[in-house]
């Protein structure tokens, strides 16, 4: 009985720990804010007030909706192009060796460095923001897909060859499912990097979105609104990451990979 109580307490503790750190964070934040002017370093109270303000006038929801739409457009575009390309490059060693230098040169260039060109090519508005998010998602997905295909145990391919599976069957029924867990890692990383570059993308002359909300707040020296925007981006990023993970577990179970 005592042991059971202890276990329950332990479980409760596990649940409470993250909340505890958030509360502590809020407390320290409030404490520091006490020493600075609210215009320079707004506390959680001011930030929350700003959040309620934009939530009430509806601009928050429009901006969230627009940002999410841009993010998913860029993300889906990246995975639609990067996964098939990665599968192709992973399967054909000579092709991969051919384009590998190109990938290695393009990859370290920050998507933000593309922004002047993105504006030049796509003007202002949705397109450059989507392009920046697309770039941020593309390389993680491409590289992990190539890697996932190349690290498929050779015995799977031997079995496919042995049973006389054609190339289409081998790709669809062996290579894609075998590489799937690896590809999923890329999709994870891409959610992170893509969402991080959302703000940067939306600073390129966009007139809406969470990034724009922050830029606009800066123009009016509304530091409380800047922090509110950052907070929303953080929480939404967490929510998206969590949902991708839930989706992965769901598919993983269907795939028979446990988890």
């Amino acid at each position: 009985m005592l042991q059971r109580g202890g276990l329950m307490l332990q479980r409760l503790g596990h649940r409470c720990l993250p909340v505890l750190s958030l509360v502590a964070f809020g407390g320290v934040w409030q404490l520091i804010a006490y020493f600075y002017s609210p215009a320079l370093f707004p506390g959680p109270d001011a930030t929350l007030a700003a959040l309620i303000e934009v939530a009430a006038n509806g601009s928050l929801w429009t901006n969230i909706w627009i940002s999410l739409a841009r993010f998913f457009t860029g993300y889906v575009l990246a995975l639609l192009i990067a996964i098939p390309l990665g599968l192709l490059l992973g399967c054909l060693g000579f092709l991969q060796r051919l384009v590998d230098p190109l990938i290695q040169v393009l990859r370290p260039i920050s998507p933000i460095a593309w922004s002047p060109l993105a504006v030049l090519w796509f003007g202002i508005g949705n397109a450059p923001a989507i392009y920046i998010i697309y770039l941020a998602c593309f390389f993680p997905i491409l590289l992990t897909t190539i890697n996932a295909v190349k690290s498929i145990p050779s015995v799977y391919l031997k079995v496919a060859r042995n049973f006389g599976a054609g190339s289409v069957t081998t790709v669809v029924r062996v290579i894609v499912p075998a590489a799937f867990p690896g590809i999923m890692v890329g999709l994870h990383i891409a959610v992170g990097t893509g969402w991080i570059h959302l703000v940067a993308g939306e600073m390129l002359g966009a007139q809406s979105g969470l990034g724009y909300m922050i830029v606009d707040a800066r123009n009016f020296l509304r530091t409380d609104l800047i922090m509110a925007g950052m907070l929303v981006i953080g929480v939404l990023g967490l929510a998206i990451y969590r949902s991708i993970r839930a989706l992965e577990t769901l598919i993983g179970r269907h795939w028979g990979l446990g988890g």
């Binding site: 145990p153 015995v155 799977y156 031997k158 079995v159 496919a160 060859r161 042995n162 049973f163 006389g164 599976a165 054609g166 069957t169 029924r173 062996v174 499912p177 075998a178 799937f180 795939w255 028979g256 990979l257 446990g258």
Partner: protein
Amino acid sequence: MSIPKIVAAGLEKRYRSARGVDTLAVTGIDLTINAGEFVCLVGPSGCGKTTLIQMMCGFEHPTAGRLLIDGAPVPGPNPDHIMIFQDYGLFPWRTVLGNVEFGLESQGMAKAEARVRAQETLELVGLCPAAHKHPHEISSGMRQRVAIARALAVEPSLLFMDEPFGAIDAFTRLRLQDEILRLWEVKRTTVVFVTHDLDEAIALAQRVILMASSPGRVQRIVDIDLTYPRDRTHADFTEYRRVLFEEFH
């Protein structure tokens, strides 16, 4: 009376390492394996028994000599000659049934027909209760039986087994040996079985091909004149063990 299934003459395989150094994996292999025969390749690691079976299955190509199966050279892997691997080669994303269906589907069999045939084969190896489980949910002994079922489903004339029970515990191993013999007596498939376990070879094979290393070659071929099922504790069995054992000294 006996029809040769596999004929090897002066068979040789050289590998070239990245540094350009040649190693002779096997050399001067002269061998005939008859249709319906159960043959074991036995030898210490590095004797080229895996190389030899890989060449027979078409995953590797000989660098010299001749290798004929059913009177024709081996251009590559063939669904009539199925290899069973030590690490099973089961697809973790497919169920037991799905794994058995894979071989049939690969040859263009209709989905419904493949399902029926796969179920029949699972029944043959006694795995029907596990049909809808995934490989990670079953024991290693069961996994290897799934791999055997997947092979038998496509009704190959030739079965290659590369240390198939090497990763399986001793008790399960004995049961699987009996199981493979039972299946062989039903199907009369030609079986080439690689092992480094002398007892396993004596329990299973009609002929044991002893191999020696550096370079890999056939050292001696021993006919095992014991009736099936074999009594592993019988004096004749131990006598064969002594004969084979002494070859390695």
